[in-house]
Symmetry: C2
Subunit: 219 residues, 2 copies
Amino acid sequence: MFQVELKASYANRVAVVSQNQILQSLIAENLVSDPEGARGRLLTEAARLFREKGYERTTVRDLAAAVGIQSGSLFHHFRTKEEILKAVMVETIRLNTALMQAALEAADTSRQKLRGLIRAELESINGQTGEAMAVLVFEWRSLSAPSQGEVLELRDIYEKLWLDVLESLKREGALEADPFVVRRMLTGALSWTVTWYKPERGGLTLDGLTDQVMAMMAL
Amino acid sequence: MFQVELKASYANRVAVVSQNQILQSLIAENLVSDPEGARGRLLTEAARLFREKGYERTTVRDLAAAVGIQSGSLFHHFRTKEEILKAVMVETIRLNTALMQAALEAADTSRQKLRGLIRAELESINGQTGEAMAVLVFEWRSLSAPSQGEVLELRDIYEKLWLDVLESLKREGALEADPFVVRRMLTGALSWTVTWYKPERGGLTLDGLTDQVMAMMAL
DNA sequence: GACAATACCAAGCAAGCGCTTGGTTTGTAA
DNA sequence: TTACAAACCAAGCGCTTGCTTGGTATTGTC
């Protein structure tokens, strides 16, 4: 019991450190905005508000007030309100793709790789980037068609990481079902956790949650 | 192979008949609106539009045009726009609770009951009531807090049907995980199918989909 | 055929929306 | 100090929104 907790705690610390390192390198490459900077702070607040009230119900005045400027001043940073939504989504996918790649590199077997992906996605959904992940799921339709196309391209890269692992498992005989179907079921099950999972109460840790998902798949 | 298809086809026909019977009796009890009537037609169109464009992006003028009246005339049937959203949700939950109860009565063992619930929910999500089900999932935040409370009460009845079956399975030793967690994972996985499952192409039937879900749970 | 009740229309109001404009402050570097 | 760009403000424009109003068809009932 104590050993398990120690192990989980150690794994957590390692994960957090590597998460920050990945974030820093993405900032350095200008692929995501520094959350300390003006643009990054706005995107963080935007994700929070979009998740809390929905994109349409969030006004540019709300967004401006959240970072302490006038509503008109927003348009020096972004040409339209929609561009803010798109930026939230694009940067979220970029960060998560990098996180998943790191999770894959840290694992050896296909089974471990899948567990790493599940664990990492649960972390994204329920951790610091959770608000932005929820926006990605629930505010999809508020993007214009062209923007949807752009975001979709990025998402395909992300999804391929999952499919490669699931296809390996299928080739190895550990998985019976269609990898496409399984990935989609997992997408639904994992992203839905954002509506109910509260780590602080209930005693279910992220590692425990990951275990239950693996058990559900008989892996 | 042919036997399986015949069986599925037969099961389908039985399901459709009983679905219509249930709908008729709910209409007779005034618990849901007749889709042939004026109110029912509006709710059907509303569900379609809310799903397609989202509640906020759908204007009362859109709703009125969809049933061929002036926007002001809507307010003889509903006091506010939000009342339309609430009606869509309430009637959907009522119908689905009845459908789930019927699925339970048609099954003997706990395992069969669970399969019946999964099959019935997939049918709701991807069948005729699919648009309303999607609204229930994705437009939740657009309801005012008081309305959310009312709808939540109805949903608790619905969710209890699931939990009873899952708790039976746990008592019987067929399920290891926490019933609450499992139900929530299933909620996510099943409702997410609305974003990708297209029965016409791909050759995956609703029964096939149900089988894959059961297999994912090692049942 | 009289009479409600119901369903609807035509017009528009008040409020809130995204976004623009013209001008001021702040930061930076020579 | 000067020069200049980036960041911001104060004000408000034009449009769309949910909803109201006063009046007119349509429907069902005895």
